[in-house]
Point group: C2
Chain length 300, copies 2
């Protein structure tokens, strides 16, 4: 048996429930405001400390995210939970501020081609725009979270070099974001890649500002999360029922076994089995999965 066989883990992990944003945006069926509100209220009752409730973006491109403002205004918000809204640009940021959103997510990328394909601006231009939005957020005392998509691999560019990712992370930290979520958009990250990126990131990002976000396209989300925990990471993104995954990752270069995010149920089973405290009820999460699957007409 190896000397270091018994690993150490964080005592506590904060789960970011992304089902209502990253999850729903990948679904064909569009839920009504009432369905979304009822579901998100159910998610709140699960005990999460962070829930992303939707995005303010171009709903011609992402029609599932219609009425995010109404949803945000209608949900019961508990003080012990952060309710994030992802905003697509400065105009939507102001909408978010107008309706009282206090936690804002922004979408960044470590891949220039991904940026060009999805937002029609270069990576460098995208960082400038993110910087402007972070400044507005700071002025308004808003907590900010930036997703760094394509941290390992890009559907358009292929493998992404660690150095490029670290440059983006470094820039985002300088721009003053409160936390980063390092995302494996295509689900192709290997354990070694995750270890190397986290090792490099931890040199420039304090642990409390670092989250991980894994897609389960090649069934690697759980093991990549596990090695992240073993390295000390204590913020993990997941989605009830594995809903979601990146729609843009459906590219001829990628031939996914599954589509989907790390599932919250599987994550909770692992974390609670490791005696890691999450504050989230597995049983209620299973009910909320069933609620969503019924509303979306999905089967197990």
């Amino acid at each position: 048996m190896n000397a270091d066989a018994f690993k150490t883990y964080p005592d506590q992990v904060k789960i970011y429930e992304l089902g209502a944003r990253d999850g729903l945006q990948a679904e064909k069926k569009i839920l009504t405001v009432e369905e979304k509100v009822s579901w998100i209220n159910g998610l709140t009752s699960c005990g999460y400390q962070a829930i992303e409730v939707g995005s303010l973006v171009n709903t011609k491109l992402i029609p599932q995210m219609v009425d995010t403002d109404k949803v945000f205004l209608s949900i019961d918000r508990k003080p012990e939970c952060q309710y994030f809204v992802l905003v697509g640009n400065k105009k939507y940021l102001h909408t978010a501020l107008d309706i009282g959103v206090r936690n804002i997510s922004l979408m960044g990328s470590a891949s220039n081609l991904f940026s060009l394909e999805n937002t029609h601006i270069t990576l460098s231009e995208s960082l400038t725009k993110i910087g402007e939005m972070l400044r507005v957020c700071k002025e308004n005392n808003i907590y900010t979270r930036v997703y760094v998509s394509c941290c390992y691999d890009c559907p358009y560019q292929g493998a992404i070099d660690n150095k490029e990712v670290i440059d983006v992370i470094d820039r985002l930290m300088q721009l003053g974001c409160d936390e980063l979520s390092l995302a494996d958009t295509t689900g192709k990250a290997t354990i070694i890649q995750v270890e190397h990126l986290l090792e490099a990131s931890m040199k420039i990002v304090p642990l409390e500002k670092l989250a991980v976000h894994f897609h389960n396209t090649y069934s690697q989300a759980m093991v990549n999360t596990l090695v992240s925990l073993q390295m000390g990471v204590n913020k993990v993104d997941s989605s009830v029922g594995e809903l979601g995954g990146c729609p843009y990752a459906k590219n001829p270069l990628v031939s996914p076994e599954h589509q989907g995010n790390l599932g919250t149920e599987a994550l909770l089973f692992m974390l609670h089995g490791l005696n890691i405290n999450t504050g989230v009820s597995s049983e209620k999460v299973r009910e909320m999965k069933q609620y969503a699957f019924n509303a979306l007409n999905r089967t197990n």
Copy 2:
């Protein structure tokens, strides 16, 4: 970052491909001898060192395993691969010997109720019968592998105490089996349970005689395999396309998210990403998954 963040792993892992036995026995559709033979020949071409080709058991109970003798006699057998046949009792063992099987699997259990429910004999009686079969195998210079089902949890008995499992493992080693596969029949094993059982097992079982077998019922198969590797285990059971899982684990006590074995594709992605040598081609395995899914009329 934790001091022990970078883990050590085995240089090489031997994969036991169980799709043609554990996999097919869980499927409604029964493949023809020709389909099975063609598939298993394809599996051989993937580069496995061990393939379980079927079982000789009561085919009134498990009709999918009809014609295992014909299948075994018809496949192309390469000397670098062990072709296992699971046998249900002494009568079937002699059938196996008669047709020239050189690698025999036997089904044991760490749960008395599981033994009673599935074989209508007590755990103790079952170990006596296994002992008799192991003796016959030894006399005939046959390599033997025993599955210890319900190492963590039993669909009938609930949680299984480590001590009970270790007693069974100890007895099986004394009875002279060549290797053991520690099976998580219900898929409920937690990482801590796996670490504790492996730690205890490694005190009485040499590493080269120890394999792990995880079901993905609660999406824990990959992480449990990963911690097993981190502890030095280098023999892993898996099944192309996640086919299989224990049909007897479908019990009111168990409410599975998925049914299925650890999938070979996911396992290979992880192992090769860790630079662990398997000798198995991921690309050919994907083809063989497609072959099986087509033959079984299954979709992805």
